[in-house]
C-alpha cells in the first residue's frame, strides 16, 4: 500500500513523465514545423555558390564556408540591410548588408541615410559649380580643386544648390605673381581670403604695395581699366556648359562668342549669354547654343574630309552644333528628346498580348531604345515642353498601377489617376469582376504562339549562373531593340490614352455608375506557365442567366392550350429568331474585351499580329466552341456571330436557365 508520500511521489513522477512527453511532443512538432519552414521557404545564405551575398535562397545554393541561417536575411545580424558610410569619400549607400559594408571598410548603421548626421546632404559650392553632397564629400572635392570649403546645410534641395552656384559673383581677380601683374577670372570665393572688393581700379604700384588679391566683380581680365599685361582679349574659344565662350590669352573665360565685333567683349564687362546673342540652334556666328533646341558646343572639324575647316574664323575653334535624330515615323527629333514607342495599340485595355512599352532617346544623332519593364509592369508616358523650335518631347517609363482595379466599385475611385491606372468600362451581363465564385480554374495553361519569336523569361538560375542559351539571347535582342512593328500610336506628342477610344469593338467607357473597373493598360501574364494567370483571366468568366416566358394560347378549334411563343426578358447575351436563341455576337465581343482587359487573356491578335483563340471558349452542353480569326479582328473591327450557337430546347418551370458548365459562358 502506498503512503501519502508515495502517492505524492507517484504524482510527481506522473507529472514529470507528462512534462517530458509534452516536451518531446512539442519538440517534435517544433522540429516538424521548423523543417517545413525551411523546406517551404528558404534559408539566408551569407554567400551563395555563385558569389552573391545575403540572399534568401535554397540551402543547396549556399556556400558552405559561409554562414547559413534558417531564417530570413532581414532577421540576421550579418545580412540585415542598412546604410553604409564611406568615410573616405563621404558617400552613403542604403540597403547594404552589414557584412558587405564592413568587409569593404565602411561604417554600417541600421538607420536610414537621412537619419544619419554624416549622410546629411548639403550644397557644396565649388567655384562656379555646385554639388549636393555630404560634408565629407565636399571637403574631399574642395581639397582636390584647391578651393576653400563652402558647405551650406541651409540648402536642402539639389535645384536650390544649382541655383546657388549660378548666383556666384564672377569677376577679375588681379594680383602679382613673381613681380608681374596678372589676373584670373574666378568667383569671389575663389579669389581668396584677402580679397578686397572695390569698383575703383587700382594701379600697379598700389597693388604692389598691398601684395594682395583684388576682386573686380563683373569685369573681364582683358578689361582695359585693369591694365593686365599680356592679357589679350578673345584669344581663343572653348566649350563651357554647352556654349561657346571666348577665352583671353591668359586662359580666362570671357563672354559668349559672337562674330560681331566688340559685342562679345562688351567693353570688358561680364554679360549674360542672352545679352550677347539670342539662343541659337545650328550656328557658327553665335555661341549661345540652345540646349532644348538640340544644340550644344562642338569643335570645328579641320580634317581633310571636312574641307580643312574652310570658313573657320580666326581664333575660333568651336561652334553651336545641332544634333538631330529621325524616329521610326520619320519625325525629326532633337538631341535629348525622348518619346514613347509601342508594339501596337495601347491604353483603353487593348494592349495586345506579349506587347511591351518602349522609350526612345535621341543621343548625339543616335536613337537609343530603352525598354520599359516587361509584362507591361511599366508603361511609357510622355509630355512636351514648348520651345521656340516647337514641342520638345520628354518620355519616361513608370510603374503600371493596375493591381487594385478590379476591387474598385465606383467610377470616381476607379479613374482616380493619382492612385491607379484603371478605366471604368461599360458593364457586361454575366460578368462579375472580383467575385471568386465565377472564377473557373481549370489548372490548364495556354499556348504561347510567339514562343519561337519571344521566349519566356529566363529563370533566375540561368541568370545567376550566367549560362543562358543562345536561343534566349536571340529572343532577348528582339525584345530589347523594340519591335514596334505595328502602328506606333502615341509616338508623337500628346495624350496616348485619348488616342485609342474610337474602336467600337473595344470596351466603351461608361459614363454612369453602373460599370466595371478594369486596367487601363492590361498587364502581361506568363500564361504559358502554370500559375496565377488562369485565375486572373478566369475572373472575367461570364455566365449568362436568362428568364424566358412561354406564352400559350388556346386553340379555338381544339380548345387545347398550345405554345404560342417564347419570350425572353431583355437580355444582352441573347438574340432571338423565332423560338431560337443565339448568343449575341455583341455580347460575346464585349465579354471577350473585358476578358482581354484582365491581362493577356481572351481571343485576339497578339503583338506579332498572330490570331490566338484559345484564351476564349464558349461552352454548351460540354461542347466547346471558339472564335475564328474571321469572327474577331482587332484590325478589321468586325465581329460576326461565332460558332457557339445555342438553341434552348428544354423548359424548367417555364424558365430557361443557362448554368455554368452546361450553358453558355465564357471561359477566359
Amino acid at each position: 500500500m502506498l503512503g501519502h508520500q508515495d502517492m505524492g511521489m507517484l504524482s510527481i513522477k506522473k507529472s514529470l513523465v507528462f512534462a517530458v512527453l509534452a516536451f518531446m511532443f512539442l519538440f517534435l512538432i517544433g522540429n516538424v514545423l521548423a523543417e517545413s519552414v525551411i523546406s517551404t521557404s528558404s534559408v539566408c545564405c551569407e554567400k551563395t555558390t555563385s558569389g552573391a551575398f545575403c540572399l534568401n535562397s535554397a540551402e543547396s545554393t549556399c556556400d558552405k564556408t559561409f554562414k547559413i541561417v534558417p531564417t530570413s536575411c532581414e532577421s540576421t545580424s550579418f545580412c540585415k540591410l542598412g546604410t553604409c558610410y564611406d568615410s573616405k569619400e563621404g558617400l552613403c549607400l542604403e540597403n547594404v548588408p552589414q557584412r558587405v559594408c564592413q568587409a569593404n571598410g565602411g561604417t554600417w548603421s541600421d538607420k536610414e541615410a537621412n537619419q544619419l548626421a554624416q549622410c546629411k546632404l548639403g550644397c557644396c559650392i565649388l567655384a562656379d559649380q555646385a554639388s549636393f553632397v555630404t560634408n565629407t564629400r565636399c571637403k574631399s572635392l574642395s581639397t582636390f580643386y584647391g578651393i576653400k570649403i563652402d558647405f551650406r546645410t541651409s540648402i536642402t534641395s539639389e535645384a536650390a544648390c544649382v541655383a546657388a552656384a549660378n548666383s556666384q559673383d564672377e569677376g577679375a581677380c588681379v594680383y602679382f605673381e613673381a613681380g608681374v601683374k596678372t589676373c584670373k577670372f574666378v568667383t569671389r570665393q575663389q579669389c581668396g581670403g584677402t580679397t578686397t572688393t572695390g569698383s575703383e581700379v587700382l594701379n600697379a604700384s598700389e597693388l604692389e604695395e598691398l601684395s594682395g588679391k583684388y576682386f573686380y566683380q563683373g569685369l573681364l581680365c582683358s578689361s582695359e581699366e585693369l591694365g593686365v599685361p599680356n592679357c589679350a582679349r578673345e584669344a581663343s574659344t572653348k566649350c563651357y556648359e554647352g556654349r561657346v565662350y571666348w577665352y583671353d590669352s591668359l586662359g580666362n573665360k570671357e563672354n559668349v562668342y559672337t562674330n560681331t565685333a566688340n559685342i562679345s567683349w562688351n567693353n570688358g564687362r561680364v554679360a549674360t549669354p542672352d545679352e550677347i546673342c539670342a539662343k541659337t540652334g545650328d550656328s557658327k556666328t553665335c555661341g549661345n547654343c540652345d540646349y532644348l533646341g538640340g544644340s550644344r558646343c562642338a569643335a570645328w572639324d579641320t580634317s581633310l574630309l571636312s574641307g580643312l575647316g574652310i570658313g573657320k574664323p580666326k581664333n575660333v575653334d568651336n561652334y553651336c552644333k545641332t544634333t538631330k535624330c529621325t524616329d521610326r515615323d520619320g519625325n525629326v527629333r532633337l538631341n535629348g528628346e525622348s518619346w514613347c514607342v509601342y508594339d501596337g495599340e495601347v491604353g483603353n485595355a487593348i494592349d495586345p498580348a506579349g506587347s511591351r512599352h518602349y522609350r526612345e532617346i535621341c543621343v548625339d544623332g543616335e536613337v537609343q531604345v530603352e525598354a520599359c519593364e516587361d509584362f507591361r509592369n511599366q508603361i511609357c508616358i510622355h509630355s512636351g515642353i514648348q520651345t521656340s523650335a516647337g514641342e520638345y518631347s520628354v518620355a519616361a517609363c513608370r510603374v503600371n498601377r493596375w493591381q487594385d482595379c478590379l476591387s474598385q466599385t465606383n467610377k470616381g475611385d476607379c479613374e482616380n489617376s493619382d492612385s491607379r491606372d484603371c478605366m471604368w468600362a461599360e458593364d457586361v451581363d454575366g460578368i462579375n469582376l472580383g467575385n471568386p465564385k465565377y472564377a473557373v480554374n481549370t489548372g490548364s495553361t495556354f499556348t504561347n504562339p510567339n514562343s519561337q519569336v519571344s521566349s519566356s523569361s529566363s529563370s533566375a538560375s540561368t541568370v545567376t549562373q550566367g549560362l543562358q542559351a543562345t536561343s534566349q539571347l536571340v529572343s532577348a535582342v528582339g525584345g530589347i531593340t523594340g519591335k514596334a512593328i505595328q502602328t506606333t500610336i502615341g509616338s508623337g506628342v500628346g495624350g496616348w490614352e485619348e488616342n485609342t477610344l474610337s474602336n467600337a469593338w473595344k470596351i466603351n467607357r461608361s459614363t454612369v455608375e453602373n460599370g466595371i473597373c478594369v486596367p487601363l493598360v492590361s498587364p502581361g501574364l506568363d500564361f504559358w506557365q502554370s500559375g496565377s494567370s488562369t485565375q486572373v483571366c478566369a475572373q472575367a468568366s461570364a455566365t449568362c442567366t436568362v428568364e424566358i416566358t412561354k406564352v400559350y394560347k388556346k386553340n379555338i378549334i381544339t380548345g387545347q392550350k398550345e405554345l404560342d411563343e417564347i419570350k425572353a426578358r431583355d437580355n444582352e447575351c441573347l438574340t432571338q429568331t423565332g423560338n431560337t436563341f443565339n448568343v449575341s455576337p455583341q455580347w460575346a465581343a464585349k465579354a471577350n474585351a473585358v476578358c482581354s482587359a484582365m491581362g493577356d487573356c481572351g481571343a485576339g491578335f497578339n503583338f506579332n499580329e498572330m490570331f490566338v483563340n484559345d484564351g476564349y471558349e464558349w461552352k454548351y452542353k460540354n461542347a466547346s466552341y471558339y472564335f475564328l480569326e474571321s469572327d474577331l479582328g482587332f484590325l478589321s473591327q468586325k465581329l460576326n456571330p461565332g460558332t457557339g450557337e445555342v438553341v434552348l430546347d428544354y423548359v424548367i418551370n417555364d424558365k430557361y436557365q443557362l448554368k455554368q458548365g452546361e450553358e453558355v459562358y465564357v471561359k477566359a
Partner: protein, 273 residues
Amino acid sequence: MVYKNMNQKRGSRGDSSQILSNLGKRGQVTIFIIIAILIVGIILFYYFYLGPNWSSLTSKQPALDRCIQKELNTQINKLSLTAGVVNPTFTSMYLDENYTFVCYTNEYYKPCAVQYPFLKDSFEKALTASMKPIIQNCYDNAINDLNSRGEEVIAGTIKTTLSINPDGVRMIIDAPTVTKTDGASAISKPIEINIYSNIYTIIMIANSILQFESSYGDSDVSSFMFYYPDLTVQKIRRDDNVKLYIITDKKDIKYRFASRSYAWPPGYGNAFN
C-alpha cells in the same frame, strides 16, 4: 675711256656675277635653313615621340613611365568591363558578355542588396592589384636595360600608391633603385605617373545609379547624359527584371554592371521567381 669702258664692261660683268654669286649665297643660306629646320624637326620628333624618356635618363631612373602608362590605360579599360571586379562570378550574361551584379535580389517587390558598395575603392584596389605584376615587369626590364648599358644598378622593392581623381589616375611608384657611378651611389626618387581618364566621372555615375537602384529600384540614364554630354549611359532591361548598364566615354572605356531591384512578377505573381 676704253679702260673705263672696259671697267664698265668689267664692272657690268662683275655686277652680274656678284648678283649671281649673291643669289647663290642666298640659295645656299635658304637650303641651310631648310636643312637646319629639318634637323631640328627630326631631333624634336625623336625626343618627343621616339626617343627615350629624357627625365628618366638624366636622373638615371628606370624608364618606367611609358611602359606603365600604356598598360595602365589597358587595365582601366579591362577592369571597366567588370565594374572593377577581378574575375567576377556573380554575373548576368547578355550577348556572350558577363555583367557583374553590383546590386541584387532574387525576390519580388524588394530592394536589392548592394554587393559592391564602394565602386571607386574597389576599382582602385583591383587596378593596383592588376598593375602590380605589370609594374614589376616594366621595372625589371628597365633595370636590365640599364645594366646592359653598363650601369651598375641595384633594384629595390616596389611600393605603389594609386588614386582615381576627377582629372584622371595618379600613380606613385616608389622603387628605390641604387645607381653607382664613379664610386658614388644615388637612390632614385619615386616616380609619379598621371594619366588623363574619364574613369572617375564614370565610376561616380555608376555609384549614383547604384544609389538609385538600391533605394528606388530604377534610375533615369538620360539625365546623366545631359550633364555629361561626352559620356553615353545605356540601360538594357532584360525580361527577368535584370537591368544592364553600360557607361562609355565614346573612346575606350566601357564600364558595365548589372542590377536587379524591386522586380515585378508577371500578373499577380509569387513571392519568389
